[in-house]
Symmetry: C2
Subunit: 252 residues, 2 copies
């Protein structure tokens, strides 16, 4: 049986305010908790049903940790899932890490991606294409939002997500090429992305890249349209940009 | 003031069962209702706030229709949106149309896309890339689900969505090339899609393309991975496939 205050604290982590206050966040579902245990992410505590516990044994041993056994109803009560008959972990929010460019590295820059599902899908897609760092505007959805984590399918463990003011970030890296998706740029299918590394900039779902940032983007590119849709979803545009960036590297 | 039974009927259309019973569905939000009025989709009725009515005047005139003036609270009550201070339309569900292949046409085939947001995003993306017809398995999310319509951003008005048993459909079109996304296929970046038209097959979010269908796919293709994510979101995979199909046509 859990102490009521523990349930209350963990439940409060669904809100950004309390995540910041305690520097903790929650990961839900057995598969995700297994991935957390296999990673080196700093852990606070792990909760699992008696039935699911054996699945976590190897991971817990590796971490030198014990899980707290709870009922499925308690897991659901602590987290955001309607049903959870497997596990839940409480993780530490790390201190902000410095952004360092590797040789030839491309980073993804997100200008106000507000939808948590979009952000999570973008992190998962970035991981697929080997992006290691994502730079988000302060208004972008919070990485530790349960919907972001769920949509990222564990990729948040491998892709570093930073939050910073984007105009200053682009100015500080003005020596690197930056490619931004606009409706009036050059065809992304014919774009040769510079091999020395740079920035891939994606705009807000409704308003695109904000004007202050748009002026700092060195290469305006466009995903060619063949039909009548007015725009693409921000996650979809990111995926097509990343795939074309990888194709360009294959050609050169 | 609306008759209570009208509100109750329209509200019931959020459930598939009642949409089928009445052959009606609901489109919410001013911009979407404007798009509906500009299209030729058969309309049942239009509801708008007095403040928003002028925005619909041209569209209503074109359709020879009057809107029923309601309060914002009534719009929210009738629909799925928490707030709606503009408009809502009730549309007719048309009878199933036959699937006819145009010259060189590619159709999208969706094998059990369960998430309404994914289906809506796929319809929007298909519209961007000029796909005219989508063939869905019976288990795929319902086109007239409010979340599908919202994510499609009006593209449901331009892309025909059919529901049918997919193994029989693929067998009936075995003379056409079919390209399916698998984890072990040939590199989509190097795939030359046949110009005579064919089928692009996308699998379920968790299980991919079902075995019965997989055996009927003539070309197994793969989106190359450069990182560690295990898979891509189904909407993301669709977008990359469609963009590569269009690129392949440019090359040939």
């Amino acid at each position: 049986m859990l102490i009521r205050n523990t349930v209350k604290l963990i439940k409060s982590l669904q809100q950004k305010k309390y995540r910041r206050e305690h520097a903790l966040f929650v990961v839900e579902g057995g598969k995700s908790v297994q991935e957390v245990l296999a990673s080196d992410w700093p852990l606070h505590s792990v909760y699992a049903t008696a039935a699911y516990l054996p699945e976590l044994a190897a991971g817990l041993r590796r971490r030198g940790l014990d899980a707290i056994t709870v009922k499925a109803a308690e897991l659901a009560d602590m987290g955001s899932y309607e049903h959870n008959d497997s596990a839940l972990a409480v993780l530490e929010i790390p201190l902000p890490a410095p952004i360092r460019f590797g040789d030839g590295e491309y980073v993804l820059v997100l200008d106000d991606i507000r939808d948590p599902g979009n952000l999570g899908t973008i992190i998962r897609t970035a991981d697929w294409f080997g992006i290691r760092q994502i730079i988000c505007s302060p208004e972008t959805a919070d990485l530790y939002n349960p919907k972001v984590l769920a949509a990222s399918m564990g990729s948040f463990l491998r892709v570093q997500v930073h939050y910073t003011a984007l105009p200053a970030f682009l100015q500080a890296h003005a020596d690197r090429p930056s490619y931004g998706a606009f409706l009036d740029g050059t065809d992304v299918h014919r774009t040769a992305f510079e091999p020395r590394g740079g920035l891939l900039v994606i705009g807000n779902e409704a308003h695109g890249i904000q004007p202050e940032l748009a002026g700092l983007v060195t290469h305006r590119i466009t995903i060619p349209a063949y039909g009548q849709a007015e725009s693409l979803n921000a996650g979809i545009a990111t995926a097509i940009l990343l795939d074309n960036w990888r194709q360009s590297a294959q050609r050169s």
